[in-house]
Structures are given as structure tokens and as C-alpha cells.
């Protein structure tokens, strides 16, 4: 039986795939960044369709910000960010296409052939999900969450250290 959830899953799944494909099919780098934003927003909506409201909203907000920054970096770093010169910035295309198709076929094959066991029909209300996720973070997964926080701090320091201008250091 085809449910509303399945129809929405297929619609937004196809949207995520189409935007994901457009990322590598356009010669404009800015369009690539905004296509990736479209794909990530579609993934966030898929989370909402699968009733993971908190994760869906978080995904849309985080990726909206990250992809906007990515578009700015594209304009700063690319010789031809608008794609007016139709530059080709790809290599080993045939191997990449074969690798993509083989991996997709393998993963899809695993999805079809695995016995997934008992299917869960019901899920908690959004407020109850948030409460239980909070309990998970503050109890069993507290160390993992703390590690993620420290990792973000380390990543921030490492990013600044890598990106800082060498010329300024030399002057001192």
C-alpha cells in the first residue's frame, strides 16, 4: 500500500538526488554551491518526513549557513565562478562514473537483499523525542557528546592555525 509518507519520501528523495547531480553538472561554481544547498535542504525535509523533527530543522539551518559560506568561498577562490568560460575541472571521469555506479548498485543490492526484521510503525511525539534525545546525550552518550564539543574546538583552532597568513609571521 502506497502511503503519503512514501510519496513524500520519493518526491523529496528525487529532489535531493536531482540537486546532488546538478552540483557536478553545472559549469558555474556558485550554482554548484546552491545546488548542494538544495540537496541538503531536501535531505532535511526527508528527516522531517521520517518524523525526526529536531534533526530535520537542525540539518536545514546548519546546511543553509554552511552552503552560503561555501558559495562565498567559491567566488573568492575560483578563476571563473560564474562559469562563463565553460572550464572543465574534472579528471578520470570514466573511472569515477564506474566507481559511483558500482557502489550505488552494491549498496542498493544490500538494501534489497537484507532481512531487516520487524518494521516499527509508531514513533514518539516530537516533544517526547526531544526529551529522550536529551536524556541520551546527558546519560549514556555524554562522553561522545563531550568529545564532539572538544573536537569542534580543536577543529576551530586548527582551521585558524592553517589559514593564518604566513607573511605576517615573517614580518615579526
Amino acid at each position: 500500500m502506497i502511503s503519503v509518507q512514501l510519496i513524500l519520501l520519493i518526491i523529496f528523495g528525487l529532489a535531493a538526488i536531482w540537486f546532488g547531480w546538478r552540483v557536478f553538472m553545472t559549469s558555474s561554481m556558485v550554482r554548484s554551491a546552491f545546488s548542494l544547498l538544495g540537496s541538503m535542504v531536501a535531505i532535511g525535509i526527508l528527516f522531517l518526513v521520517m518524523e525526526a523533527e529536531f534533526l530535520g530543522v537542525l540539518q536545514i539551518m546548519m546546511m543553509g549557513t554552511e552552503m552560503s559560506i561555501m558559495a562565498i568561498f567559491m567566488m573568492m577562490f575560483m578563476m571563473d565562478p560564474g562559469g562563463l568560460g565553460n572550464m572543465d575541472m574534472s579528471h578520470q571521469k570514466n573511472i569515477s562514473i564506474v566507481a559511483g555506479i558500482v557502489v550505488t548498485a552494491f549498496v542498493a543490492g544490500v538494501a534489497f537483499t537484507t532481512d531487516w526484521g520487524i518494521f516499527a510503525d509508531q514513533v514518539q511525539e516530537p516533544h517526547e523525542q526531544n526529551r529522550l534525545l536529551g536524556m541520551e546525550i546527558l546519560k549514556r552518550s555524554m562522553m561522545i557528546f563531550e568529545t564532539a564539543g572538544v573536537t569542534i574546538l580543536t577543529g576551530m583552532i586548527a582551521s585558524i592555525a592553517v589559514a593564518i597568513s604566513i607573511k605576517n609571521d615573517a614580518k615579526k
Partner: protein, 102 residues
């Protein structure tokens, strides 16, 4: 069960597209975009497993939060490397990055 299979197939196709992008592109930022797509596909799988198999196990949602952290960090460190690379060689084309070759 068809809901879980549909979500897994969508994620498999997205992963394949991301892999194609990460392998075929020569620009650092475009390679990062491919990796982001692959991580997005992994997150769809995690949410689908939580929703359709174990809605009581919130450690699966915790995994999604960790995957989001990895995505953000990959973006931050990748952009920092791109900035450094652009400052030193004026380009972020990876085909021109062969300094570490022996």
C-alpha cells in the same frame, strides 16, 4: 518495509553521486562538496534505521549529530586548507598539488 527500502535506495544513489564528485573533480572545494553529499547519504541511512527499525534507540540520533559535527569540521578545515593553498600557490586546483610526491 518499502519506506525503509526507499530511503536506503535514495541514500545509495546520493552516495554514488557524491563518490563520483569526490573522485572526478580537480578543485578542492568541489571535492569537499562530494564528501558532503556522501555524509548526507549516511545521515539519511541513520535516520531511516532509527525511524523504521529502532525508534526507541536514541543513540542512532546521536550518531546523526556526530555526523553533522564531522560535516561542519570537514567544511571548516577544508576551507582553511583552501585558504592556505590559495595564499601560497594562487589556486585550489588539486592537480597542481604535487609537493608531497617523493
Amino acid at each position: 518495509m518499502e519506506l525503509l527500502i526507499a530511503a536506503l535506495i535514495i541514500a545509495a544513489i546520493l552516495f554514488g553521486i557524491g563518490l563520483y564528485g569526490a573522485l572526478s573533480q580537480t578543485n578542492l572545494v568541489m571535492i569537499m562538496m562530494g564528501i558532503e553529499l556522501m555524509l548526507g547519504a549516511a545521515m539519511i541511512n541513520l535516520v531511516a534505521f532509527w525511524r523504521y527499525l529502532h525508534p526507541e534507540a536514541f543513540s542512532l540520533q546521536m550518531f546523526v549529530l556526530i555526523a553533522m559535527t564531522v560535516m561542519a569540521l570537514e567544511g571548516a578545515v577544508g576551507f582553511a586548507m583552501a585558504t592556505h593553498r590559495f595564499r601560497t600557490s594562487g589556486t585550489v586546483e588539486m592537480e597542481e598539488s604535487a609537493e608531497l610526491k617523493g
